[in-house]
Every structure is written in C-alpha cells, then in structure tokens.
Symmetry: D2
Subunit: 343 residues, 4 copies
C-alpha cells in the first residue's frame, strides 16, 4: 500500500502514524520528495483498509498495490481451480473450470411441479446440458409474488436428478435452510445476498461447491472479496457468476458485463460462468448473449428453460422453450469448437 | 395495470390471456384503438408483476398505475406513522416522524470498549442527541477487517444506555442473532441486507422498530417493497434511511440522494431519516450534508461520533469528534427552527 | 401514447386537455375505468414528449406506445440499410450492414506522422482490415493533452489512403471543420458530441456516411434520437457505434454493452458496429471483446492499432501492435464463419 | 504522479522509461521496495495522463497526487473568484461567489413571446431574483420538439432586460452563434456540451462570464477539466452549475448531487450554483431542493418560472408559477439568514 502524506504534516504526527503501522507488523519504506512524503507499506496489508488511514488528517491518499484478497487471487494460487461435480445420485456430472469445456446448466426459474421439472430436466439433458438448475427458495422483490415451493421444491429437484442423473444447482437464501441443502450438488448464493456476510461465512464451512452470483452493483473487487469470505472460512470450491449489472439504462433488465470474464480469468483462478437469462430478461436475446459468453471464454452458462413459459410462475419472459434450447446448444457447440472446447 | 397488446395479436391468444387474468380475480377493461388494444386490469394487482405478462408473446408492454406496495403506501394509510421510542432502560426517548422534531441518533461506527461507548454516549447526549447508535455486528467488505464485538458489543451498548438513558440503535445481520436483540430499542437492517428477504420476514414478526437502510443501488420502489416485506409480516414500525447510493463518480464514497426525502414523504407514511456519515465518508463534509437533510424535511439523522477517530477500528475517516458534533447540533437547531421543528 | 388521468380530475380540465391534444392533430380514444381514465393518443405523437403532459396537474402518467423516432425505426423502414463505401482514392472499399460481412476498421488513435500512419495502414490492410481509422482532431479531457494534428492529420490520412486504397474514418468535432471533411469516406461523431445537436443537424446535410458513437451514458432511445436528428436533416447513411458506457465500476475504462447489438438490430435498420478498444482501454482485453462482438452479430468493428504503442501520443494502452492485430483477424474469421459471414 | 513499476521489470525498459520522463521536463524520485519500484514524478504533470503510462508494459499503476487542473484549482488560486455582473442595460446586477449572497436566477425554460418573458421577468424581479434566465436556443432530445426561437428569442430577452434591469442568462449551443451573444450578460454552456471542447475553447476567448453546467455523467474531475479548458483559453469568469446526474433510478429525472457544492468549494475558487428544476423535473419538489442548496452553501440558484406552466412549450412540468416562486423566495431568505447570507 502506498500512503501519501500531506505537505507540511507535523513530524510528530508522522512519527505516531509510522509507529502505529509498524505495530501492526508492517515494514515501512519512506520516500521524501519536494512536495510530498510517501510511505510504502510492506507486508500483509490485507487487514488494513485504505479508508481507515484517511481518518488521519495528515494522510492525503492511500492506495493498494496488491489486491485485498489472497486465496481468491491468481498470484496466490496460479493454477486454475477445477470443480468436478459427480451427480450425488450417481450417474452424470461435469467439470467446471478445466479450460476444455463450457458446462451448461439449464432448467426452470422456479420448480413448480414434479411433471414440470422432470420434463424440463429430460429435455435439457437430451440437448447436452450438464446440470439441472431450478429454484425452490425464490428471492422476490415483492412479498406478494410466488416465493417458491421451498423444501418441497428441493425434493422435486432430487426426483428430477434421479430420473436424469443431472447434478442440481439451486439457491440457498438463509442460514437456517442449510441442513436441507446437504445433498445439493452446487449451492447458489444469489445476487442480493452477495454481501450477506454471515451467510457467506456459513457456506464457507460446507464442502458443496458454491455458485456465487455478482451483486447488481458490486464492483469486481467486492465480488472477489465475497468469494474470499467463503474461501477464508474453508470452502475453496467457488464458482463466480456474472448475471448483469445495473446501469442508467433499462432496455434490458440488467446489462450483461462480459468484460468481467477475461478480467476474472486473469485475476483469479476460480471458474467464471455467465447467466444470460437474468441479465437481459428477454427470451429472444438469450441465445445471442450465450454465444458471446462462449466467445469471451466463460467456463459455463446457466440458462432458464421452461416447458410453458407463458404460464411460468416466475420469469417466464426470459425462459427458452426446450426446442429453442436445443437449437441454441447446436450453435454454442460451434462457438466452443473455435476455442477448442466442448460443451 | 395497463397492458398493451401487440398489433395483430391472434384473438384466440387474446382470449386465453383475458381468461387467465380473470381467473386471478381481476376485472378487465378493454379498449381497442386503431393500432393497439389496451387492457386495463382492475382490482388487486399487487400479486402480478408486469414482467410476467411479458412472457406472453402478444403483450407489447405492461405498466402499473398503482404502486406495487400497499401497507407502505400513503394512499392506503394517509396519516404519518409516528414511532415513539421510550428507552428500555427507563429514562429518555423520542418520537420519530411526528413532523415537529428531527431526532438525532449519534455514536461510534463500532463499539470498541465500555469506556469508549460510554464516553461517546454521554457526550452526544449532552449535545442533544436522542439516540445512541453503535455497531456490534459489523458488515465488512473484507473478511480480514474487524467484524465487531458481537454479543459483547451489545452488552456494552446496554451499559451506555443505562448510564445515559439514551435508547440504542444497532445493526442485526442474521436471523440467528435475533434473540440477542430482544432488548434493543431500534433494530437496524443494513444496506447490504435490504433485499435479504428471509431476514426481512423475520424482523417483520418482531415488535421492535426497524430502521431499514436503502441498498446501494436500490430504486425507491425496491426500497418500499422491502419495507412492505416487513409490514406484510406484521411489523408496521419501519423507519426508512437513505445512506447514499452508488453512481459513476467516487469523489465521495456514495452519493447522498436527498431528493428521496420529499419523494418518500409524499409516497409513504413511514418516517425517513438520513445518514450523512456513510453517504460521504468524509468527516468535514458531514455537517454540510446534515444541514441539507434538515432542510429537505428529514425526520431524523444518524451521525457517527468517535472520541478518537484516528484510532477508530472502523470508519474513523467519517466520524466527528464530540466537539465537532456539539457545534453541529447548534447549527442544526437553527435549521430545524426555520421549519418550526426542534431537534 | 397512453395518458392516465388522475382520479377525480375536474371534467373541465379534462375537456381542456382533450381540446388541446385534438388541436395538435391527434385523435383520442377515451377509456373510463373505476379508478382511472385513460386517453389513448392516436396519430403522429413524435412531436409530443410525455414529460410536457405531466406539466398538467390532472395527468398521472404518460407513456409512449410507439418509438419517438421514425426514420431510424425498423417499423418505418423494414429492410436493412447497407452502406457501401468505395474508397475516394479509387481502389478498395466495403459494405457495412449487408448481413454477410463484418467490416473491420483499424488504425492508430491519433495520426502522428506520415511514416506512422502509412506503416500502420499497410499492416492492417495486409491483415484484412477494410477501413483505416485515425484521429486528426482529438477530443481530450485535458486542455494540456495532445489535441491532434488537425488539418495536417487529415492530409496524412489521405496519403495513407492513397498508398493502400483503404477508405478513411476520422472524427469531426465542430461545424467549422466540415469543409475539411468533404473528402473523408466516413465521418465519425464522437461519444461526447452525441447530443451536440447543432453538429448533428449539419452533418445531416452532408452525403458522407456518419459513424455515430453512443454517448457514455446515453440510453438506447437517446442514441436513436441522435441518429434521427441526422436522418431528419437528410442524411440516411448513419452507422451506430457502441463504445462502452459508464457504470459504477472502473476495472475497465468503460463497460462494453454488447446487448445493444441484438437490440438495435431489431429496433432499427441501421448498421451497428463495436469499438472494443475505447470500451475497455486495456490492450490484452481487446481481442476477447472483439470475438464477442462478432458473436452478437455486429456489422463491423473499429480497433486501434499502433506500430509503437508505448510511444503513442494518445491511448497507447489500448492499441494492438500490427502483429497482435494480424493474429486477431485470423481468429475473428473463424467466429464470423460460424455465422456465415466473412470479415 | 506516482508510478508503480511491475515486479521484475527489466532494467533496460525501466531506464528507457525514466529517460523519456526526464525528457519531458520532470524530475524523478525513485524508491525501491522489496516487491515494487516506485517512481515519483516531480514537476508539471498536467500534460501527462496516467493512462498513457499504462501503455508501457512495465507499469503496474500510475496515480496523480496533484489535481490535473491548475487554473481552476484552489491551491493555485486560494481566494474565491467573485463574478460581479452589472446588467448591460444599465440598472440592476449582482455578485456571484462573494460568500455573502446567494444569487437567484429565474425565468422560463424557453422564451416564447415578448408578453410571456416580460411578464415573468417582472414577477421574478419583484420576488427578489437577481438574474433573468430564459432559453432561446434549446437542446432537445428529439428533432421534432420545439427548438427555441433562436436569435429572435435573444432579442426578446433583451427587451425583458430593458424593462426590468435584470441581467440575462441564456444558453449558447454552437460556435457560429457566438456573435449573437456579445451582449448577453452570462452565457450558459449546457450539460450536453460540457465536453464540446471546441466550444469551450471559443468561449474561453470571450470576456462574458460562462455558466458551465455539469454533464449528466461527468465526474467532478471532468467537470473541472472542462472549466480548465475555458480558463486556459483566457476566460477566468466561470460559474459551475450542478443540475443533476444520471443514476440507476428514475423517480426524479436526474439525481441532484448536493455533495458537490462543499466539495467544489474546497477544491476550486470558482462559484458554484444549483439548478433544482432540471435536476428533479417535478414542480412540487423544486422548493425543497432549493432550500437544501442554500443549506449546503451554493453561491446561487437557477430556477424555472413560467406564467402558465401547463401551456409551456418546454419543461412546463418543472416550472413554478410566479406565486409559487414568490413564496419560495421568502423561505429561502430565512435559510440564507442562518448562514449570514442574503439572496
């Protein structure tokens, strides 16, 4: 961290600050210029926030040189993290983050009935999806909207898993639901809970892979710090998911920020996937964004598919039909092939 | 809700849609123009999201006429909600939302020690604060930052309450902490938990007043829907708090959105307070923003005060000293007087 | 346009409003519900802004059904606009918007010398670029930054055009520079001038194709309204260019909004191209974003290439070397092939 | 400027970089730590952009210590700039930026007729306004909206000035209109032209005070750099105007960023005024925001007043009636008095 002191800072206050920093285990490298004095802080600065130094009136600015995350950083862990998921029911499964595949997760926004989820599961499996996604606990802006089937929905997902062998991905919303999720293949933490720090700490104690969605206005740094929360608690199996951010425009529900894929692949060793369905919120746009996600090197995709979108209890406007999904998978294979990948 | 159908929508699909809407208990008012057909939905549309109608290919657009919240709406509850808080230790207290006062809550970002919190509590009380604020459970971006004293911090707050009579305001971060908060005068839900819906439902079952902070990129509608979650669960004592939003610029930590005060006072009957400290994150700017908050008609203020900001474990850069706070209270009284209010 | 009147609006004021709207040549379709009265405005509503109706206290809301642009709208002009550019020096050229090609424009941010621009032009032509881009008049945030070679720069571009046959694309910043641009193949209007309406009107009187860049925080609607300004003045040869928008994060200079490509292709008949260089501002990320741009169906790309980026007078941090550009073109061909296109 | 070099940068490349920086007239202060090497650049760094240094692969980061603006900076010019305007018609006038007054500019969005502008001018003068505002050249999003009366509108403003003695403030949109503005008391540059650099350079050659509006998504730094453009061309009479910024929400047209007032008063010596009318775009909210503007220490206000808002050709929804304006001025006087100011 580089700390710039104000011109004319009293030497007594400078000495106090230096003593305080040394007491926190840091070495200091001081550099006096004509106008400014610069302190270079050497050592583990992850416990110090630049902002707290600004509480001191003699500090002009403070800036990190190294990232504030450690376990999530590629400089700390150069090799790609590969998350291999074998379906807990036995059969199928897939790796995420191996650089050779782009794993597609597909299924309905909400689990509505056994017939619905099994039908969709079979269809997406037939088209090449590697995971079944489906919501049992649903975060909804309105208390009057359908809130999901809850524990019953989880059971229906497990039935669909048994029928198809597809591992399941589903969202956990609160700590007290954790016991119900022991058997879930990949646990999703939603965008609105990305900085629910208590929840992050708790899923950090599990061994299930965690699919962490980026908050609607989370910076990349905050996103990685939330992954760091999970990893610092012991769970290194974190999958990062971009699902659109909030901007000044609303012609799509959110703005899919595809640049984050190459950036994250450089900055962290964790797998990165894309959710085009929630990003745009418009059915006909999903395939186009999915192709772009493959082009930027995403390690996977999570796509909403519903057997009857017009009657869906949630997010029907962005769900593909099974037929549309099958067509899309054909095209995505060709894009993946350009990069030497398979779906 | 007004639903515009696409030009040339097949009459069979239109009929199906109309039947489905009627089956949900709505009356329809149909209006056919040259180019478009418009359906007016009459009745309780709070359970229908405009987006779900867009899943139907014949729907061009869908727009609410009435707000999607009910209990939080001033049209539903015209009179101001006034929250009267008597300190649970006996003595002092204050009303929030009575239109005659602007209640100031003050104290340290984090509770650090008994000496610290008692000293600050006495100082802010002497200057006219009506509540003691202080964090025991702290939401921090980094897992390596100080996370608060937790349950011990709550006990220290209660000691300070006993010494001064000031009711206490402190943040709850997770459902499993609720038993510890029974005795807390006002429970704060932080910005990052504004859409932690499970938490909202649980605090909706309590009788303690809830201070709900606006999320960093929450729209006004989302903010009120989160209040609605609490109210729909049974707790009508909700205080709304604007604490700065995220924009494209970062010359201040967040951008204090003062326009929300007059807007909310018109749209809802709930009290609205302002947190200038977290909004700007800069000590010297806090007094200026506090004055503006009084000018726009805020029902209260929540301000960070620390006896030694340079050594604070959290957010020292935005904390006033007790002396600065005393000065500020003098000026704020004059502003309140212009509007016929007292602090 | 749909106008919702307030509950209980006095009939006299309603009648006045209706008379005023009829006087503007509109037919009205009135629909009275239990709670609200709705006026459907039929006819050419492009001259009415919803906001102006809100000046009337009896109006609750006003919403467009049809787009506020006409000439730019695909519903007005269903066939794709194809802009065929033959280099004014004779030789090469390309079409933009024909659905079969993805035309690449490449060259330095700023024209610095004859040797530089000719060398780069030859290199990009050899790699398959169809146009030479280069800045002579440069919009710079600081008055102390290099402002471009101006008219001399234009002459150097023309020399490079003569040497290579590549048509040239360069930015016009002010009306008084127009005479210098008569001979320019494609005139660029920069992001910061997207709502410089006087400039738009003037380039609307020219016959040169206009490459219009999206403003840093322009909505899609505003972007198309600026195209409409040009078209309404008589010039229908407008190419739309997405170059990154401003968000809350700054890990890239701007956020490339790729969703705009499919959206614009549906909403307008005008060609749409992508500038990945200015969007991210990071050299190593440009190729990844360029691939995604082809995947979403862009009609072209504009990419910065410099023979010595480290010594560039402007934006060297985002320029590819000629060798990097050659590699990229190889990969882009494969992506274009998936969609049945060529570069 | 502080330049951090990458770990392991080859010494030859480091030497080349250092030589290049020295050749640009800078002194270097080098500091080698265990992990990083830091170069402190000493001298006039206003001509160097941090971004251009990033074009060099050995540079990790580059950060300014001093502001990139000079003439606009308070450190360069500590005393407040006071702009004294005597009406060119003789009579009245006012100072802006003297710290003792808060000058109110008022009038219609658009000049529509002699009767209209004279009536409004007399009314606002009677209520205590010091300047008459009114638009003759209007920047409109749509080419089909009323574009203002142009040169004729300027003449009508001058008639109103003659009748009332109020100096006039009106917007200039293009360089070729400058001759018409010689006689205008304060020339406004609109938000959409804040980075129309050619226009800024030209008004920098005039002696009329320039009211520069902040762009809709301009950072504070960009705003001051645009003021610097004007000052660097020779015109030091710049008044900065905040008029609302674009965010993710749209419950008001824009978000009035009041924090910018104290920030700018610290960072620059130029006067700062507030436009509450364009910021919120809602008539009933204007008075509340105007009070807050006085509370944060604005040097002035610019407020829309129309004698018949419901029939206004532009922005009627945000215009006060003369009676509402008179009431507001009474309240604002009380707010100004708290700070020892007069209107």
């Amino acid at each position: 961290m580089i700390v710039v002191l104000k011109n004319g800072a009293p030497s007594q206050k400078v000495d106090e600050l230096k003593a305080r920093l040394k007491a926190r285990g840091l070495d200091l490298h001081e550099s006096k210029g004509a106008d400014v004095t610069i302190l270079g802080l050497i050592g583990d600065t992850s416990r110090i926030q630049p902002e707290e130094l600004l509480a001191n009136d003699i500090v002009e600015s403070a800036q990190r040189v190294k990232a504030p995350y450690k376990q999530a950083s590629r400089s700390f862990h150069p090799a790609d993290t590969v998350i291999a998921v074998l379906s807990k029911s036995g059969a199928a499964g897939a790796s995420i983050g191996d650089g050779k595949t782009c794993a597609v997760m597909a299924g309905p926004c909400s689990v509505e009935s056994e017939a619905q989820v099994v039908e969709v599961a079979k269809a997406v499996r037939a088209s090449g999806a590697r995971f079944l996604r489906g919501g049992a606990f649903k975060p909804r802006t309105s208390p009057y909207s359908f809130q999901g089937l809850g524990a019953d929905g989880l059971e229906l997902l497990k039935i669909a898993r048994k029928e198809t062998g597809l591992p399941i991905v589903t969202e956990l919303m609160a700590i007290n639901q954790i016991p119900l999720f022991a058997d879930v293949d990949i646990i999703q933490i939603g965008a609105r809970n990305m900085q629910n720090f208590d929840l992050l700490k708790e899923v950090g104690k599990l061994s299930n892979p965690i699919l962490l969605k980026r908050g609607l206005s989370a910076t990349v740094k905050e996103f990685l710090m939330s992954a760091e929360y999970i990893m610092a608690s012991g769970n290194e199996n974190v999958i990062l998911c971009e699902r659109g951010i909030r901007t000044f425009d609303n012609y799509t529900r959110n703005c899919l920020d595809l640049s984050i894929v190459p950036y994250l692949k450089k900055e962290t060793h964790l797998p990165v996937i894309i959710d085009p369905s929630h990003a745009c919120g418009i059915r006909w746009m999903v395939p186009t964004l999915a192709k772009a996600a493959v082009a930027v090197g995403a390690d996977g995709l999570i796509i909403e598919v519903h057997n009857n979108p017009e009657k869906a209890l949630c997010d029907g406007e962005q769900s593909l039909t099974p037929a549309q999904f099958a067509d899309l998978m054909g095209v995505l294979s060709q894009y993946a092939a350009v990069e030497g990948r398979t779906l």
